[in-house]
């Protein structure tokens, strides 16, 4: 609004020219205009056509009784304006040259006390010839073709400068207008706010419908109360907190999308009225309560009063958001920790598998000679675990500094999946799992653990997690088909997933069929994600059926018993080792033994003993073997001795027999002497 003292004293109603500022510019009414204008007719002025300068001259010269005399000046292009003395006296401080089809500012002669000058709706391209109007307070150049602010340097009293709807490209040459109160630059082509810092009396600044992309450089505008920035391309706002008096800020129809880009508004205590409609930010779900929460001083938002209810809601929602953010922060922290642990386990596993060369150079040779297959495995598994994508905000990384990465194993229960990383995790199976948790687990996943170690805890697994139907193995060193035999002791397996990474057995052509064959009593549904078909089962049977048949029918009885006995012994080994024997456990034993026989027993012969156990057993047998050898040697010695004696006897016997017979015959030759000899022998015996 124009300050009251500059309104028309006569209080005449006049045209309200709204140039977006809610400014009401009182201009002289039509009849008055006719008097002031350099139109010859005193009646309604003619607006028709576009009159060029010489037309005007023609008009002037042809009319009579004109009050205005347009004479040619020394400068051929500028018309000179003169008013009749009556009008000069009547409207001494104001001059309206609206819609006069002016292309240039005319030279205004003898009007040095002019205070209001209205050039609206013309075609003026440059502000000129008004330097002498040093009392000018109100200058209206709305809707012209001005390209540059200039020619105002003498107008030190100017209070209202209306330059809306022109072609101004930048704010400049306002240095001397220190009293400026209202500056209207809407509808121009201004790209940045500049050269306004000295306008400490400025209260209204209108920069609507320009080409501003951001707002800053607002320091020095200590009286600014209203700032209109509608219909620009503003993406961020700064320095508004440097405006101590700013009450109204209109940012409608710009390009603001986050609160951070206008965060300086929160620091402005004077703001009471703000509009954001037509910005991307107004479409967001969190828009209203974020603004309200951050700008408690606001009274109106988007031209609507802010109620207490809204404010309360805003704070509630903001609190909830805070909670959520804290929660997600915690979650990402946990996830990160998990990832680090897994990486640690992976590294340890790789070292164990001799995949990563040791740091010490003299150990390199030893590593490369190891009997594992280092040459076939490329790179380490650490790289196989992708970094958690997505930004970890700075707060997170700070917290992570405190995390220790000395964990060597990880146990995780996630709904229905139990994941074990690292061989240390196997001990967690001893923990007291709640029945509910344990009952929900249907999938067990082993990673970075030697399969031979897993085999030893399978009985525990069977008991503690009775519903585990899906087993997953990754990086577990499955190298032999035989190892699958160990899985037969479980209660039931529906699905088996063997990840090729770290499990060379998957490279074999026949591994799936062998699994189906050996674990046929499970009637598995899926292996590595693919359904098991009838044909698969038949093929498995075809390939290995004879093996089972041979194993069961052609083994001698005692071997079968001993092999079965071994298996049972191993199972019970765990059960004997458990700390507390609950009555339920005894039932399990019975069921196990029955089930063992219930399984397809011709396959039960096919067992898997881990390499360590096997060697242990062979060691144990060595003693027995030595004893047997010695025993047999003794037997053989005895036998050969007897044989020798037998043979010797065979050789000697004929001779001996002949001699015996000869002796006997010789003895009995003489009957009488023989009888005497016998009687003698009998009496001697007595």
């Amino acid at each position: 609004m124009i300050p009251g003292k500059y309104r028309s004293v006569s209080g005449r109603a006049a045209n309200n020219v709204n140039c977006g500022l809610h400014l009401v510019i009182q201009t002289s009414s039509l009849p008055e205009k006719s008097k002031v204008e350099f139109k010859l007719n005193k009646e309604t002025p003619s607006f028709s056509g576009r009159l060029l300068q010489h037309d005007l001259e023609r008009n002037y010269s042809s009319r009579q009784g004109d009050h205005i005399h347009l004479a040619s000046s020394s400068m051929p292009s500028f018309p000179i304006l003169q008013r009749s003395s009556e009008e000069k006296i009547l409207y001494s401080d104001r001059l309206t040259l609206e819609r006069q089809k002016l292309t240039v500012c005319p030279i205004i002669d003898g009007e040095e006390h002019l205070r209001l000058l209205n050039f609206q709706h013309n075609f003026i391209t440059r502000i000129q010839n008004i330097s002498n109007l040093q009392r000018l307070i109100f200058l209206d150049l709305y809707d012209n073709q001005i390209e540059e602010i200039s020619g105002l340097s003498t107008l030190r009293s100017l209070r209202v400068l209306l330059l809306g709807k022109n072609r101004i490209k930048q704010i400049s040459n306002l240095e001397n207008l220190k009293s400026l109160d209202v500056l209207d630059l809407h509808g121009n082509q201004i790209t940045k706010i500049e050269n306004v810092s000295h306008l400490c009396d400025l209260r209204v600044l209108n920069l609507a419908r320009n080409l501003l992309s951001h707002v800053d450089n607002l320091n020095g505008l200590d009286s600014l109360t209203e700032l209109n920035l509608r219909h620009n391309q503003i993406t961020f706002v700064r320095d508004v907190d440097n405006l101590p008096c700013l009450q109204r800020l209109f940012l409608s129809f710009n390009n603001i999308s986050t609160f951070e880009s206008v965060c300086c508004l929160a620091d402005s205590s004077s703001l009471s009225d703000i509009t954001f409609d037509g910005n991307p930010i107004a479409q967001e779900s969190w828009y209203k309560h974020t603004i309200l929460q951050n700008m408690m001083q606001l009274r109106q938002l988007d031209m609507k009063r802010v109620t207490e209810e809204e404010r309360r809601m805003a704070s509630v929602v903001a609190k909830k958001e805070e909670e959520k953010k804290r929660e997600s922060h915690k979650q990402s922290l946990l996830k990160e920790k998990k990832r680090l642990t897994i990486n640690n386990v992976a590294r340890k596993w790789d070292l164990q598998q001799h995949r990563i060369p040791n740091i010490a150079p003299n150990q390199d040779r030893k590593v490369s000679d190891s009997s594992q297959d280092p040459s076939q495995l490329h790179g380490s598994t650490v790289s196989a675990f992708p970094e958690e994508t997505g930004s970890l905000d700075s707060g997170l990384t700070n917290d992570l500094q405190g995390l220790s990465v000395t964990d060597t194993h990880l146990v995780e229960v996630d709904g229905d999946t139990l994941s074990l990383y690292g061989s240390g995790a196997l001990e967690s199976l001893d923990r007291n799992w709640s029945v509910q948790t344990a009952g929900m687990v249907t999938t067990v996943s082993f990673t970075f653990i030697e399969f031979d170690e897993i085999v030893q805890v399978l009985p525990k697994l069977k008991i503690k997690f009775p519903n585990s139907l899906h087993l997953k193995f990754k990086e577990t060193n499955l190298v032999m088909l035989q190892q699958f035999n160990a899985l037969a002791q479980l209660r039931r397996v529906d699905q088996l997933t063997i990840d090729p990474q770290g499990n060379p057995v998957v490279n074999f052509t026949l591994w799936k069929y062998y699994v189906l064959f050996r674990l046929s009593h499970f009637s598995m549904q899926k292996i590595n994600g693919t359904e098991v078909t009838q044909n698969d089962m038949i093929m498995a049977e075809r390939l290995f059926g004879i093996l089972a048949h041979v194993a069961s029918s052609e083994l001698p009885q005692y071997r079968m018993i001993s092999i079965l006995g071994d298996a049972r012994k191993k199972q019970f080994r765990y059960l004997l080792e458990t700390k507390g024997k609950k009555p339920g456990l005894v039932n399990e034993e019975n069921n196990d033994s029955k089930r063992l026989v219930g399984e397809n027993t011709n396959r039960a012969m096919l067992n898997y003993t881990t390499r360590d156990f096997y060697n242990e057993r062979l060691e144990e047998i060595k003693e027995k073997k030595k004893f047997c050898k010695m025993y047999m040697e003794d037997l053989v010695k005895e036998a050969t001795e007897i044989n020798m004696k037998n043979e010797a006897l065979q050789k000697l016997w004929p001779q001996m027999f002949i001699e015996l017979v000869r002796d006997a015959v010789i003895e009995i030759r003489n009957k009488n002497s023989y009888m005497k000899l016998c009687l003698q022998q009998i009496t001697d015996q007595n």
Binding site: Q482, L510, I546, V550, A551, Y558, N587, N591, M632
Partner: protein, 326 residues
């Protein structure tokens, strides 16, 4: 039985030749290991079963490698068992890598050494591209040679190396039982730039070797036959020829002829029965029958499994109900 040459040998030698002691020792060892189980049905029966299985060739199943390697009969039985069990793999036409064959071997003998399998594979692949796929029959025949005659082949390799290097082993006095056999040998030609060695020279060295190794060497006549066909040959060429020679196969007696390698009517019949049975078994699972099913044919082994859908006795939420076997 009472042949003169049998009686001509002294005791220990006779026993050693027939490996009687090996089997006796092993039998006693097994007896000691399984005391509790065997005492149930008597020692005599145990010995009967043991020697029956030795005769049938089933004694080597799932035994440790040291035992399997101990006698030629064991080795032959093992070869036969391997053929019997995995003939179906060959019949199916699958080509497998050396490692997979080794895996199959390990199913029958858990500590079978990898080197032997590797050597066998080298024979098939002519020492080239060890990751190549091999057919069952090729592998089996090469494996037979390698396993059965492993010591012999080692010596042959040494001789071959010597010949390649130009050394003439004939000038070295052979320090074994074949004493005084210092025959006249034709002078050795220079180490040739051609591949391999001269067949005739090689043949004579091998003859020498065969005399030293009294057993565990292929019949010398056949070896000569193999070498007579060619002028020069490489080590692996020789082995390949050896493995493919069907006379040697027959002499070993473990495997049928190469042409019949996939045929085993008795086992095929058995297999069909098993397949049918497994089909029925699977169908019964799929239909989740509640009542137990008995199958028509009885199997010969004592511990027969009766196909039944058991019900739960332990309180577990498992959807399948288990019932104790009767």
């Amino acid at each position: 039985m009472l042949s003169p040459d049998r009686l001509a040998l002294p005791d220990y030698e006779y026993l050693a030749q027939r490996h009687v002691l090996t089997y006796m020792e092993d039998a006693v060892c097994q007896l000691l290991e399984n005391k509790e189980d065997i005492s149930q049905y008597g020692v005599a029966r145990f010995f009967t079963e043991y020697f029956n299985s030795v005769c049938q060739g089933t004694h080597i199943l799932f035994r440790e490698f040291s035992f399997i390697q101990a006698t030629p009969h064991n080795r032959a039985s093992f070869l036969r068992a391997f053929w019997k069990c995995f003939r179906t793999v060959g019949k199916n036409g699958d080509l497998l890598t050396m490692r997979e064959y080794h895996c199959l071997l390990q199913l029958l003998c858990p500590d079978f050494p990898l080197e032997l399998t590797q050597k066998a594979a080298r024979i098939v692949l002519m020492d080239d591209a060890m990751d190549c796929l091999m057919s069952f029959s090729d592998f089996l025949l090469a494996f037979q040679i390698q396993f059965y005659y492993s010591e012999f082949l080692e010596s042959v390799a040494a001789i071959y190396q010597d010949l390649l290097a130009g050394k003439n082993p004939n000038t070295v006095i052979v320090p074994t039982s074949s004493s005084g056999q210092h025959r006249q040998r034709p002078p050795l030609g220079e180490a040739s730039v051609l591949e391999g060695v001269e067949a005739s020279l090689f043949s004579q060295c091998l003859e020498n070797l065969c005399d030293r190794h009294k057993y565990s060497c292929p019949p010398p006549a056949l070896v000569k036959e193999v070498l007579s066909n060619v002028q020069r040959l490489t080590f692996y060429g020789f082995l390949v020829a050896l493995s493919k020679h069907h006379g040697i196969n027959q002499a070993l007696g473990a495997l049928p002829d190469k042409g019949d390698l996939m045929h085993d009517p008795a086992m095929d019949e058995e297999l069909e029965r098993l397949v049918v049975r497994s089909r029925l078994h699977r169908t019964s699972w799929q239909h989740r029958a509640e009542e137990p099913r008995a199958f028509g044919f009885q199997r010969r082994d004592k511990l027969e499994a009766r196909e039944s859908v058991p019900s739960a006795s332990a309180p577990s939420p498992c959807p399948y109900r288990w019932e104790p076997r009767e």
